[in-house]
């Protein structure tokens, strides 16, 4: 998961590596996701998060569809 400066740089990077496109987010969206995904990581009572809860985080941020299917 990498940072890129623009759509043009993304296209060039994919082409240079011969990779199929995955999913592209704005950095603000990723920050929202990071807050929800990692915010409890240092909680004293941390427990492994069930896949359904991870999926719910993605769903809440409207990261939906086959690409974002976690299970």
């Amino acid at each position: 998961m990498v940072f890129l400066r623009s759509e043009e740089h993304l296209a060039r990077w994919l082409d240079a590596n011969g990779w199929e496109p995955g999913a592209t987010l704005g950095a603000s969206k990723l920050n929202d996701l990071s807050r929800d995904w990692w915010g409890s990581r240092l909680d004293v009572g941390w427990r492994p998060r069930p896949a359904a809860e991870s999926q719910a985080i993605l769903d809440r941020l409207e990261l939906v569809g086959e690409f974002w299917s976690y299970g």
């Binding site: 998961m1 890129l4 060039r12």
Partner: protein, 148 residues
Amino acid sequence: MDAFDLDVRRHVYFSVVANGRPPTTVETAGAFDLPEPEIAAAYRRLHDAHALVLFPDTTDVWMANPFCFAPTAHSVAAGGRTWTGTCAWDALGIPAALHCDGRIESACACCSEPVALEVTDGELVEGDDLLVHILLPARRWWEDIGFT
């Protein structure tokens, strides 16, 4: 994951925050007053459960996500230390996990030009023009977490 493994995992994470690095199995064995092989076995179980990531064929911690203990392009200043994020997501995850502001210095994956992001009060206040690309679909993230 049983209570013992959760205790070991908590010790690893709290040591990371306190010391800026993960404890070795010998150090954790000392903290728990247990033989090192018992702690090494717990580290391996935590790795298998995706609660830690060990360097291949070792019991050395590579990632206590979002914190990473190998060089990457993502440097994160947060909570009075400079950390390393495994990837873009983990880099933003460090201030999120620490519940503090943070500044990420990274590079465009295409041109290697420096990029910077700043998180204040949980919001991205610099770098919101940047894009993030995720190559693999969610169900494949743990196939090769180093690549993901």
